[in-house]
Symmetry: C2
């Protein structure tokens, strides 16, 4: 549209929307025209929810999970086991693990994985603060729950070396066949690992 | 995430984002976590742009295009030919035609196409107001620029019948091969129409 006849208000909304990841100018325009057809109340609710999101959410000073105060609901809860710490890459992984309903300890969010190719070294991550938590002596077990990728394995190994001299149990997530998968379609590396890490049959009925 | 440990602010933002068309809860969460990493200033700009969009944009009382006042920039412009009206389905089509740089008249936005199967009859559209504009007697030409679909053709024909008794030129967009297309890959209906509507060779150099 010729600049002369563009609505500046529409133009600004489209530009701001198209800064979101995965949203180009065409999608941004489609979203903006959709919002024009919605109730003013609904659009105001959306705009204010986004402003509040960024303004009111901060990070927990213990575990670096998102929080609305300096200690998150999980770290503040007396119902959780504060002597077990699960190390995860990011906030989404906390949600994934919470959704399993199988974990009752606390977390430590690294904020990424070691990846020299992306210029992310151990100092860019919350690893020093993890070592501090462990050296304070209140922790029995650290569970490494990182992705099963090269970066995840590198980070696992780095943390393992940093925590090797502490008297704690250091575990990592079990790797093996996905539940519901068929042997025929499981890749050979995973299948090999599943064989090596086989567990007593009675353990398959174990619940937390 | 257990309700107990969810951030209510995050939950609200995700719910509001997931009301947008084509955005499910997973994408909404990804967008929300992206916004958390952005500068607070940028996120506030996005939120306010959306609120202003819905609050400040209204529809032109002449052509029903979006506008920031009751007469849009195109209808208000003395540079445009106000005796030529281009009838389009929606606001996006106005933008598409403006982007060609080939049109200098004004518009009439119908707000949809006649589609009995979706319950959209002529009375749901801005057809009566088009007839009013034409009967006021200030218009020489009405260009029907609707999609080349069953609904577009139905709407074209309905408008043609409503305007048949007025002393105006009634035209529609040329239909034929797309520029850059090969004969071999042009569908036979389009190719047939291109043959029927062939134009003098010298006209291919015509500019507006």
């Amino acid at each position: 549209m010729d600049q002369e006849y563009t609505s500046q208000v529409l133009e600004t909304a489209v530009t701001e929307l198209s800064r979101l990841p995965g949203i180009g100018r065409k999608t941004a325009l489609r979203l903006a025209l959709h919002l024009l057809r919605r109730e003013e109340r609904d659009v105001t609710a959306l705009g204010e929810a986004l402003i509040r999101l960024r303004r009111d959410i901060c990070y927990c000073r213990h575990c670096h999970n998102i929080s609305e105060s300096d200690t998150c609901a999980i770290c503040a809860s007396p119902m959780r086991d504060h002597r077990t710490v699960c190390v995860v890459e990011n906030v989404k992984d906390v949600m994934s693990i919470e959704n399993t309903g199988q974990y009752h300890g606390v977390y430590h969010v690294l904020g990424g994985l070691i990846s020299p190719i992306d210029g992310i070294g151990p100092d860019s991550l919350e690893i020093a603060s993890l070592v501090d938590r462990v050296s304070a002596g209140d922790i029995d077990e650290v569970i490494l729950a990182l992705s099963s990728t090269m970066e995840g394995d590198t980070t696992n190994f780095y943390i393992f070396r940093r925590l090797a001299n502490f008297d704690i149990k250091l575990t990592q997530l079990a790797r093996g066949m996905s539940i519901g998968n068929e042997i025929e379609y499981t890749d050979e590396v995973t299948l090999g690992r599943s064989l090596l890490n086989r567990v007593p049959f009675s353990d398959s009925f174990k619940t937390n």
